[in-house]
Symmetry: C2
């Protein structure tokens, strides 16, 4: 299967898995469940699920197990978007081409949607019998928690808020992104792998790959925020500059940011090389990320 077909098939599969695993819209409390579905379904590139499937297929995980992992990852990701968009944070009105949750519903609902989606992620991942080895499954739960909390994604968000309007160094910017975006992207790769293997050498290699790809993803995002338009992004473009947020583009400039993206992609490829043809999808995702239109 060619990469675009594989990507489309995983995206369809994940959409269906989310559709089934999110509480039904007619279940009480209905407004909350409707809003959780509104926030999660029908949009997004599903980058974290794609990484989990790519790493999981390489490691021999079953698709059913990867469905649950993909839903957990996407629930965490969407919860963070819903909360980040709220008026007290980024105050944004558009996400994935639709009004944000607090605009479509209200602020209290957006707050609860994010809260309940985070819980749903841990509910998905702790489903009994999901892994043959319960110890390995616990390791996956612990990994997701660590990547999402105050020393991971939520912590990165706090550093981001703190940095608005401040002059920060490239090292500080990198520290922020490794937490804010990188931690969950790395977790996506690791959770997919953990669902199929316990080989430490493979996990260690994929951990380094996850770190490269997480940073790569953010550098490309910063470039896109600078050069793409709102229609292409499905979210408000030029927001970072408008909010005086430090980005790779504002700190090192557009051309060096592009060079950095290519270097990170090369490092990611180099890390995957010893894994041979089995790592094909991970290589293709790397190329896909770096080739997003800019």
């Amino acid at each position: 299967m060619k990469f675009p077909e594989w990507m489309a098939s995983v995206q369809r599969r994940v959409e269906q898995a989310l559709e089934q695993r999110l509480p039904a819209a007619q279940l009480a409390p209905q407004r909350l469940h409707q809003a959780m579905r509104y926030a999660t379904l029908g949009g997004g590139k599903r980058v974290r699920p794609l990484l989990a499937f790519a790493a999981g297929e390489m490691a021999g995980a079953t698709p059913e197990r990867l469905d649950a992992i993909a839903c957990a990852l996407e629930s965490i990701h969407v919860y963070s978007l819903v909360h980040d968009d709220m008026p007290c944070m980024d105050d944004d009105v558009l996400r994935r081409g639709k009004p944000t949750v607090h605009v479509q519903y209200d602020e209290a609902t957006a707050l609860l949607v994010g809260d309940a989606l985070q819980t749903l992620a841990f509910e998905q991942l702790s489903t009994l019998g999901l892994f043959e080895d319960a110890g390995n499954q616990l390791r996956a739960v612990a990994l997701l928690a660590k990547a999402s909390g105050s020393r991971g994604m939520a912590g990165g968000q706090a550093i981001d808020l703190d940095s608005v309007g401040k002059s920060i160094t490239r090292e500080e910017l990198e520290f922020m992104h490794i937490h804010k975006t990188g931690a969950l992207i790395r977790a996506a790769v690791m959770l997919g792998a953990l669902a199929g293997t316990t080989d430490d050498a493979t996990l260690e290699r994929l951990n380094h790959f996850g770190k490269c790809i997480g940073l790569l993803f953010q550098v490309v995002d910063d470039i896109l925020d600078e050069v793409a338009d709102t229609a292409t992004l499905g979210k408000t473009a030029g927001k970072d500059a408008a909010q005086d947020k430090p980005t790779y583009v504002s700190i090192i400039g557009l051309t060096p940011a592009r060079t950095l993206a290519r270097e990170l992609a090369e490092e990611a490829h180099g890390t995957l090389a010893p894994l041979g043809a089995a790592a094909q999808r991970l290589k293709e995702i790397t190329d896909y990320i770096v080739s997003r239109p800019f």
Copy 2:
């Protein structure tokens, strides 16, 4: 040991466990970690930890395991308080006798504090090696997730918001409270028990006890909101009536609410009776809850 001493010793122990398990205030991101500690430490009756310790001691769980469970429960509880107090929800300025997190810090920090405390709960409970049996530990994680999410605590909060200013029946009020407060209280009893036993009959009995005590706790809370003053409560008194929120007092009246509290306490005692002297602490907590000054 008499009950008041036992209660004080568990509360001290839990305070210390939280102190140790919350990220240090000097760890980056510092403002977030400071605010997480501000929200969690030095206050609260620690009702959920007390229930977990009482059920756990009965079931033969080790204190170390109960520390982690108590911290997980209290992290979930505090996250819900921090988010509930925000301007888009109850908009409250006082909690446990101190300014609420969004007043002391800011709204964005309060949002992230709640988010990161929820994650911390799952991180605590998924710590490798916490239970001898990883399958049983996963069961505990799944139980906490179910009790906290859209079909549990967060869902109850959504129903609560939806009911403001509306006339609801006693059945609807009970449905709301079983979710909003009851689910996590029941989870506290069950997690404590699960840390020491897998006996289905005991777990089933404690599950019913947890349901009674959860509802009892809320009935008493509604009575206290009506009759106690702000200084005694450590939070704003008379808030429910001021916000036109349905309560047991507003729906069935003060005297019938007091009668209901006594009936629920009796049912809780009846459920514990077959467990004999081992259930002593659970019986004492029941009496403690029903005897809170009203």
